[in-house]
């Protein structure tokens, strides 16, 4: 009987801790983040912006996700936008791209205190249906309690199974991805 009571007490305390952790963690989210993609390889600018980035991160664990719709990337040149969707990204077949990972040093960020904090992010970036591990750095800027994450990294286009003419020529072999997400709390 004593053992049953002891087991019950242990379970209750574990449950109590996990409930407390759940209650303590906060999810920051945005549906209006921005990602700029730049693959300029020659004279002509090949860049597009998407202003409907869906992103969330959890303060307690540092878990972070970004989701983006490929057809939401707007180019200055309509023809370029059409080629990007049809010939390279095949966005009808692969309409989404996402990143799922962790802010590895979230414990070093004081989300209650205004300031700028360097962050290390690690996760899997999936574009064109192909996922690859990405490790990069960025910054969390806290202003009036609201965090903004910014960062920039490069990807090798061909590693994502993207084929098509001009990669490595007019289109850079490495595309730059710039992230700027202002979260609500």
């Amino acid at each position: 009987m004593k053992k049953i009571i002891l087991a019950f007490m242990v379970l209750a305390s574990i449950h109590g801790v996990s409930v407390q952790q759940l209650q303590a963690q906060k999810v920051y989210a945005t549906k209006t983040g921005q990602i700029i993609f730049n693959a300029t390889g020659g004279v002509e600018k090949i860049a597009a912006a998407n202003n409907q980035v869906d992103s969330k991160f959890v303060d307690a664990t540092g878990q972070i996700i970004f989701g983006v719709l490929v057809k939401g990337f707007k180019f200055e040149n309509q023809l370029m936008e059409d080629h990007f969707n049809e010939n390279y990204m095949e966005s009808t077949q692969f309409p989404k791209a996402d990143f799922k990972g962790y802010i590895k040093n979230i414990k070093e960020v004081d989300l209650t205190k205004d300031g700028s904090y360097p962050i290390n992010i690690e996760g899997v970036l999936t574009i064109h249906g192909t996922g690859n591990k990405v490790t990069t750095t960025g910054t969390i800027q806290i202003q009036q309690g609201k965090p903004t994450i910014t960062g920039e990294f490069s990807i090798k286009i061909k590693e994502y199974g993207i084929k098509g003419l001009y990669i490595g020529e007019k289109i850079a072999a490495d595309a730059k991805i710039k992230v700027n997400c202002k979260y609500q709390n």
Binding site: Q52, G67, L69, G72, N77, M80
Partner: protein, 143 residues
């Protein structure tokens, strides 16, 4: 023989000029105008419900298509670039329809969109770019 060469040269010049015009002038200045396209008319709740039920099927029906969507305004906001954003749907739903309004002043400046009040039922025409946590519509104009 001379005439054939002259004709051939003329054709080559016309093709080259047309190609240059299309690639470097027309495509740069001409953007898709969804407002002139025939659109699918749908209610916001039904659109988000279809994406929730079967995203692949919904993508086949609506992705990159002109949509005229009617729904209750849940929120009116601005994105990081200052474009008006209107959420249509049902407050109790897990997923709704998020519309980013067009930025060209003649079609829909941000100001009229931002005067729309929450709770009102409105109709917007735009392009469906798919679904994340909500169905996303871009280039929206009040219909």
């Amino acid at each position: 023989m001379k005439k054939i060469i002259q004709y051939a040269l003329a054709i080559i010049i016309v093709v080259a000029i047309s190609g240059y015009y299309y690639v470097f002038i027309y495509a740069k200045n001409h953007h898709r105008n969804v407002q002139t396209e025939t659109a699918i008319t749908i209610v916001a709740d039904s659109l988000s419900a279809q994406f929730q039920a079967d995203e692949k099927k919904a993508n086949a029906l609506y992705l990159n298509k002109a949509i005229i969507v009617t729904g209750t305004v849940l929120s009116v906001d601005k994105n990081q670039q200052g474009q008006a954003m209107i959420m249509l749907g049902n407050a109790a739903s897990f997923s709704n329809v998020s519309v980013t309004m067009a930025t060209n002043a003649s079609a829909a400046t941000s100001s009229p969109a931002l005067t729309i009040t929450v709770g009102k039922t409105i109709t917007i025409k735009g392009v469906c770019t798919g679904a994340l946590s909500d169905v996303v519509i871009t280039d929206g104009v009040i219909h």
